[in-house]
């Protein structure tokens, strides 16, 4: 009896809240954890003020070469970016016309953002993209409406990265769908050859495909027919990306139950109608998040074209670093361009995650 009483008057356990409990749970849950926390806090306490100092507090933001030299790399020289930002962002596009790629890119990114929400996925969306793309290429290319013509060889920087990514992804989706259907075909010849193509392409690095574009395409084309370097690279990257798209689409096709195709067949629909009306609409919606991931990886992959002398964002930075005066400030240049890539890429991957959750909810209801 007395024992039970003493148990009843015992102090209640401390409430599971407040700053101390939070700290204990998240930073000091065990001895190794506490040691790791102390070590990391010490490291960050040493690093962060120095990083802040280098990046911002003592950095030079004016395009002043002498001031940058005087820093002797003890702080960042953003003056390099200030001096060369037009070259880095637009490459060798004629200087006085650079408002055109700027407007074109803003238009494109704006249209992309506007069509990002599933509520905008209507039939008219594809139709709405036609004038956007027309305006985009008209602005870049010129030659009409009083805009002076600019050769694609002079395109460069961020607009080139955007145009290459967009063209490659847009063109590789239909090719990938055809390849995926071929890989699941009942016809052994079609199935065998598409499987061979997909596996071969996925087995080689992108750079070989770029070599094919720059060295082999000129040999394969009939004499007199010439494709400019940008078109060749876009074509080769499309066929490369299509092999990966095919696997993405195949994943969606496999997620559908067999009953869908069998029911449609029992209704007497032809093979083409079954694919177009029953299978593909369901399969493609399932893989939209994977399409966004392909967009993201293509966006990062386009940086490889600098190896075959096309001046995309990466190539344009290297062009800017070709100036021997400013070359030593390469770290600032790479941080700037790397941050640009990082921001775009992170936005796309977050969007893909969001879409995935949303579509999963949509599929359940």
């Amino acid at each position: 009896m007395s024992e039970a009483l003493s148990a009843a008057v015992r102090e209640p356990p401390p409430p599971d809240g407040g700053a101390v409990a939070w700290l204990r749970r998240n930073l000091f849950s065990s001895v190794p954890s506490a040691l790791a926390t102390l070590l990391l806090v010490a490291g960050l306490a040493w690093l962060l003020p120095r990083a802040l100092d280098w990046l911002a507090l003592r950095a030079v933001f004016r395009p002043d070469y002498d001031a940058c030299r005087a820093l002797e790399h003890r702080a960042a020289c953003w003056g390099f970016v200030a001096e060369k930002h037009r070259l880095v962002l637009f490459g060798r596009y004629p200087y006085s016309e650079q408002w055109r790629p700027l407007v074109a890119t803003l238009l494109f990114v704006g249209a992309l953002a506007a069509s990002a929400h599933p509520r905008a996925w209507r039939r008219w969306l594809l139709a709405a993209w036609a004038p956007v793309l027309a305006a985009f290429f008209l602005l870049l290319r010129g030659g009409a409406l009083g805009l002076s013509p600019v050769d694609p060889a002079e395109w460069g920087g961020l607009p080139l990265t955007v145009v290459l990514t967009a063209v490659v992804v847009a063109a590789s989706i239909p090719v990938g769908v055809v390849l995926a259907l071929g890989r699941r075909s009942a016809m052994p010849l079609v199935r065998g050859l598409t499987t061979l193509y997909i596996e071969l392409v996925r087995g080689v690095p992108l750079i070989t495909v770029l070599f094919v574009a720059s060295f082999l395409f000129p040999l394969l084309l009939p004499q007199g027919l010439k494709l400019d370097a940008l078109a060749r690279v876009a074509l080769a990257m499309t066929f490369f990306q299509a092999a990966y798209m095919a696997e993405v689409v195949r994943g969606g096709l496999q997620a559908l139950s067999r009953g869908q195709g069998e029911a449609a067949e029992a209704l007497g629909l032809s093979w083409w109608r079954i694919q177009r009306r029953v299978i593909l609409p369901q399969a493609l919606v399932l893989v939209i998040p994977a399409f966004v991931n392909s967009l993201l990886s293509t966006f990062l992959d386009t940086s490889l074209v600098t190896v075959v002398s096309i001046y995309d964002l990466t190539g344009a930075l290297r062009l800017a670093l070709g100036d021997p005066r400013w070359r030593e400030f390469f770290l600032e240049g790479y941080l700037f361009v790397g941050t640009l890539y990082f921001a775009c890429s992170l936005a796309m991957s977050r969007y893909s995650h969001w879409l995935e959750r949303r579509l999963a909810r949509w599929a359940r209801t």
């Binding site: 690095p205 084309l221 600098t306 890539y341």
Partner: protein, 330 residues
């Protein structure tokens, strides 16, 4: 039994017609491209065939395990390139796997700081193009490090400078194992095992970037193991480290191995970016050869067959390992 007739009115008949048409289109397209190529090669006076492999290459290769001089043949140059590709890829895989595993486990840590820093590592490395990372690593190694005459001493007899990293090299000499130690002289560091900045930049770039992808694979593999497994093991009184090592990881490996294989292949394929920073891998050698003799078709075929062989061998090896760790069902 009736023989299948080639007729439009049966499904098998239509399939035969479709396949015949498909094949005909492919053959026609192939023939047209082949004719163009022969024509173009003749017009540009480029020879064809693999006979060039026996000729003198004439260019130098900076490094590699295969002995090579500019007087050697193209065949030997390609062999040196393949050896360099394998060298950086194998070492990269060996370093990236433990690093990636550590960071993947770090993302699951109960410690908030460890979790946040691991997440930052993964996000930054996965969202910046590898080419950018390689260029940046290369410039850091060749511009920011001290001159070879006054190198950074990492340890006694291990030196880091603009000329690369020099470490002691174990040699089998006079029946015993001796260490050849690098020494600092007036003209830089001599002796020992020298790793060029190109090799180091490529290795660093590949290892850090791949470690981020491996971390994600390890994380999702561990998350796939049900919480009950951990709780049951903890209830048995095993320490946390032991639970991870003995209960969670062996089961997670089954989920991890297949995607890990494709990361190993990705690393190998990404080593072709060596051409961007001038490390003499097989792609760089092919690039030089194409610029010299214009035989693009042959050189590209060589690159492709090298990578496809590596893929095949890795797939077979990892398939064997996967069967080894797979669940043995009764």
């Amino acid at each position: 039994m009736r023989r299948p007739r080639i007729s439009w009115s049966t499904r098998s008949g239509r399939a035969l017609v479709y396949q015949a048409a498909f094949l005909a289109i492919l053959v026609l397209a192939g023939w047209a491209l082949w004719r163009n190529t022969v024509h173009n090669l003749a017009a540009r006076q480029i020879r064809s065939g693999f006979r060039f492999l026996d000729q003198r290459a004439g260019f130098d290769i900076g490094e590699g395990p295969v002995p090579y001089t500019p007087d050697a043949t193209y065949l030997r140059a390609f062999a040196a390139g393949v050896a360099n590709t394998l060298r950086v890829s194998l070492l990269g895989i060996l370093l990236a796997t433990p690093l990636g595993t550590l960071i993947g486990l770090g993302r699951l840590s109960r410690n908030l700081l460890v979790r946040a820093l691991s997440a930052a590592w993964v996000e930054v490395l996965r969202n910046v193009p590898l080419v950018i990372q390689l260029f940046a690593w290369y410039l850091v190694l060749t511009e920011l490090l001290p001159d070879p005459a006054s190198p950074l001493a990492l340890a006694p007899h291990a030196f880091l400078s603009k000329a690369g990293l020099q470490v002691p090299l174990p040699l089998w000499q006079a029946g015993g194992l001796v260490l050849e130690r690098p020494e600092v002289g007036t003209f830089g560091v001599t002796g020992g095992l020298a790793l060029t900045p190109e090799f180091l930049a490529l290795l660093l770039g590949l290892v850090t970037a791949t470690s981020a992808s491996i971390a994600e694979i390890v994380r999702s593999g561990v998350l796939a193991i049900s919480k009950g497994q951990t709780e049951a093991a903890l209830a048995l009184g095993l320490s946390r480290a032991k639970v991870v090592r003995r209960v969670v990881l062996p089961q997670a490996l089954r989920v991890i191995v297949p995607p890990l294989t494709s990361q190993f292949l990705n690393l190998t394929k990404n080593s072709s970016l060596a051409v961007a920073i001038g490390y003499p891998d097989v792609v760089s050698i092919a690039n030089t050869a194409i610029n010299q003799n214009g035989q693009a078709l042959e050189c590209i075929l060589i690159i492709m067959s090298v990578y496809l062989t590596i893929n095949l061998v890795t797939a077979v090896a990892m398939g064997w390992y996967n069967r080894h760790v797979a669940l043995v069902e009764r």
